[in-house]
Subunit: 346 residues, 4 copies
């Protein structure tokens, strides 16, 4: 059985990734790919990896009815168009921040407010590792932010298992690629300015803090650096636990309890070879998250490393994964990509 699917905002980076995934998915069929700017052009015009697709952008004004609508527009668009989206499709998967937070006040604090706060409770946060059951009947799915996703997935088992408490100090030091900022132009995204950098672009108060606190129930001190890659998000979480004697085996148990059956989580042991710990190159193009940890006894610290492809597990891949669950099909379908080795900046 196949389901019809459209992508709103398909000419952006995330929109293109959705098209790549949908085209390779045996149970979704693309109905429309909308773009205001490129309407009438082939999708290969903006996404050279899709040159062989016989699909043209259509105007976002006329949405055909579909089984599922993937929305890859900038923040603020979904909340203003949600009625039209819901009319066109019974299931809406939103990749923006518009429906991620439950608490409307957080939209005032971190964004520019919210125009339909009554829908926030209805939305399901898109991480199957935490919300699989709710996703099964979800009509409005809000995929997590890339930085939040990589942080939440790294820390979740430690909270779920009760090893951490709300008082524990946790730092998340994030390194991300330039696709995160989207395809729009700015002087800071110019190749000559953006290449070769380690640039603190959100030292404090990054918007994704709100999601992390919502999903983990705890505060995480969050700092984001731009580094010289295009796709990829890596989190190094430094944790100072109140509880003593957190052994490696306790931590392994926590991670295995949470993720032992998860199809897209890989736990690494930190031993052997050049790629001992999670890093973005190894997950590029895949829906995997890789996670590893070390215990630093000198400093009474746990260090957790996690890495994702921000355009896959951090957005488009997460969206397809959630949609698979919502439609009751095998949740790994269309998501079994392998990364390349060796390769350059992801």
């Amino acid at each position: 059985m196949t389901f019809s699917a459209s992508v709103i905002g398909a000419s952006g980076f995330t929109g293109g990734e959705l098209l790549r995934l949908l085209d390779g998915h045996p149970q979704f069929e693309i109905t429309q790919a909308t773009s205001r700017k490129y309407s009438g052009r082939s999708v290969g015009y903006t996404h050279p990896n899709l040159r062989d697709l016989k699909l043209k952008y259509s105007s976002p004004e006329k949405l055909e009815p579909v089984d599922v609508l993937f929305v890859a527009t900038p923040h603020g668009v979904s909340m203003s168009k949600i009625d039209a989206f819901s009319e066109a499709s019974n299931v809406v998967v939103d990749l923006s921040a518009d429906f991620r937070l439950k608490d409307p006040l957080k939209y005032d604090e971190y964004y520019d407010g919210h125009s339909c706060p009554e829908l926030l409770e209805k939305a399901v946060y898109g991480l199957p590792e935490i919300h699989r059951d709710d996703l099964k009947s979800a009509k409005l799915i809000a995929c997590g932010g890339c930085n939040s996703t990589v942080t939440i997935l790294g820390l979740y088992p430690l909270f779920k298992s009760g090893l951490l408490t709300l008082e524990d100090i946790i730092v998340a030091d994030i390194k991300v690629g330039s696709s995160e900022g989207g395809a729009s132009r700015s002087t800071s995204s110019h190749h000559a300015i953006r290449s070769g950098i380690v640039r603190p672009y959100a030292p404090i108060s990054h918007r994704h803090e709100a999601e992390i606190e919502q999903e983990l129930g705890a505060k995480v001190a969050f700092t984001v650096h731009a580094v010289d890659m295009i796709r990829g998000a890596a989190a190094t979480c430094h944790i100072f636990p109140t509880k003593q004697d957190l052994s490696k085996s306790l931590l392994w148990k926590a991670y295995l309890d949470s993720y032992g059956e998860e199809p897209f989580v890989r736990l690494l042991s930190g031993t052997g070879g050049n790629y001992r710990y999670p890093e973005p190159k190894v997950v590029a193009g895949t829906n995997n998250v890789e996670i590893a940890f070390e215990i630093d006894e000198r400093n009474n610290r746990i260090v957790v490393f996690s890495a994702i492809d921000n355009m896959m597990k951090g957005s488009a891949g997460q969206a397809i994964h959630a949609a698979n669950i919502a439609f009751g099909i095998d949740e790994t379908i269309g998501l079994s990509h392998r990364s390349l080795h060796p390769t350059g900046a992801p």
Copy 2:
């Protein structure tokens, strides 16, 4: 129906790429992956993208009988072991240079001679676009070099159609990534030395000249530059034709006659978008070659651009493609990968 396959020299870059392709191929099943150095270790130790494979390196000393043997060893190994390889398998696909050239004297000129020249005639050069019929019954397949492949595929239709003559001056200016040199260490492949370069590493007399001349029947003045990518080979061929009035439509006809039905050749028209001409990023991880041309009337010149992934169309992908043909199965099977967009250095 499935066929058993082993990879000799599986811990190298090309060996790993073969494993990636074979694992995703519905009609080949991996029997052995040999490595002298890593025997007993998991293949994921060297190839992090294969971490989930339950496959350990075995010693190259004990080869089990298989339907097809892929050999990814350094030049010189295949010719010395060809008896053992042929005993283990009815079909040998060699990715080294050992059986590419028909003329034994060329091995004296460009390499260190040849130890079994009598086998050279038996081998079939691995490019299906030129040797598809011979590949169908081939027992020894010699995959082309990456630089030769990208050059030959760019120029072949112009010779086949008779638009070029043997007197025409042709320059092939090549730009390649660091995977071409293999995984072995040298000061020149150190990250600090190799990053950010445009380095003429083979100004003249590159070994691949011999293959190009063999396949095209004409001399090509060949120069290779190392640039800052890992996989990828791009050729810019500058052609000064003796024949006058070579119009765009004549050239298009030549390319379409040769490649109109080819599953892995994409002809680009040079119009529109940021990716108008062939470039390695767009073919990374795929078995595609992209080709475009322009006519420079001011200089009575034709410029042909072609780009491949040196590890795919330039070696492992070409090998699988040729093997598909040799085994009479759909030749595109296991090779329908898409590249990522956007992404960094391939």
Copy 3:
């Protein structure tokens, strides 16, 4: 003795490089750095390497009289403002294309025409290696384009010495960095689109062809590729000489005759170490051009490699060099920078 100097268009990449050089130059003193957009801001706002300079952008509307005016504006601006520039300064050094060509018709062919063609004869092309004598009394200096500069310098001795003829076929295959396109934004200069590429951006008919033909008196078939660096231009010239028996010693003689005394030309012999041939990393930040050649007897070809920093020898460094000569001071003053080793993409 010091001379006062202003930079018009100082907030761009080349403008910033001029400021860097002028600040370190013992005999020039910066009077104004103009920028329409950033007027009133510190120059360190756009050029972080100049953070310690106590210098603010001023409006280009009010030019103070100075000894020399460096103009780093987009093509077309200089020709429209040349009266104001000449009023403000007795010596104008223009880094745009506006006064490079002697033949006004070439501006129709390659640009959008010219508004003051009568000045073209007066301008001196900025390469001291060719026009040193004329530069001594020049009032209007037109610095060469970066791609033209690297090509002209590589080929000039072969023409000057008479080793090449006007009938010889010459290909210049160029690889350049992203600073060449300037600081203005476009989708093609976005980091995610521009990273990791080997992109033919000017397959034929690049504007710099006109300069090259003017300076060498011969046609050069010219193709430009964008590669993953920020500054740097590398030319590989493939030459098919009509004259036979061009030996290495004849070529060395030609290069030494032209460049033996040149302070910024380095001839490399192609032997030893990892950096045997010219490459942009080694000249980054310097005013040097490095040149090497090989004779390819199999193909009756000469290959010449040359590399410059497009922002130094290819624009701002060339400008200071020419100004040094015009003011009769030691021509190497303020230009004795060394590159870094090791380092990444230049």
Copy 4:
């Protein structure tokens, strides 16, 4: 007045940087550059930026007497040769770890022990910002490690001013380039393996922890990541102060008190432009450290960013700076380099 200087281990990355600095230094003159491997070759063979230097490597066996000896050998060499070094020169500036730590037991804990612990007290740690007075009469100078230097300089004013206490939790999350590992080959430094990474290479227990604790008197939880640059070290320090109400003005006062007169420290305010916070590109090739901070009230955290060029402020530049002080000359002499803008990976 000039002083004679030799470099031991001059063919390595740091050795080459010392040669670059010494050659441009008006008061030091190079006597010997030793290299066991390249003895007899020109220094330009390994360091292409020094091609114009008429200087050949000599054997380390025969040291001529000099005023100052710079030692850039791997850890363990200096302690075994210190007698010969001290015989050759009255002042030894060691860039290895051999004399950095005061406590011999730390060498047992973090290294392989120490063979002349009695000398440890005599050595002066090379950071002028902390040890300027002691450096004036120092005979044995131990330059700090690059990761330690960038961390110590970021945190030092907060401890000196008493704003932090020994109980405060501090995380230093470090990002470094590949020159840090030196020029020796390993599979992990291969371009194809090392490019484009964010790789946790020292999750815990990095040796530089010991230096940091010694210099600051407090524990810092330390984690080091390799990223895709060649030179550069960036530290993000996350501090959870016990003292409340640490305002921006208090912090500014602390930094200005410590660094207000420091010639190589730049304090950034985090406002304006694309380069608001410290980053390695902006300090590449210079002896500067850039520092900025933010207060994160939501998390009761201070974030301090600092960036250096690991080969300059993090080793060779620090060495020259310290030597300037030891010889009583202007301490900024020979160290007034500017970085390039724009440029690629440092």
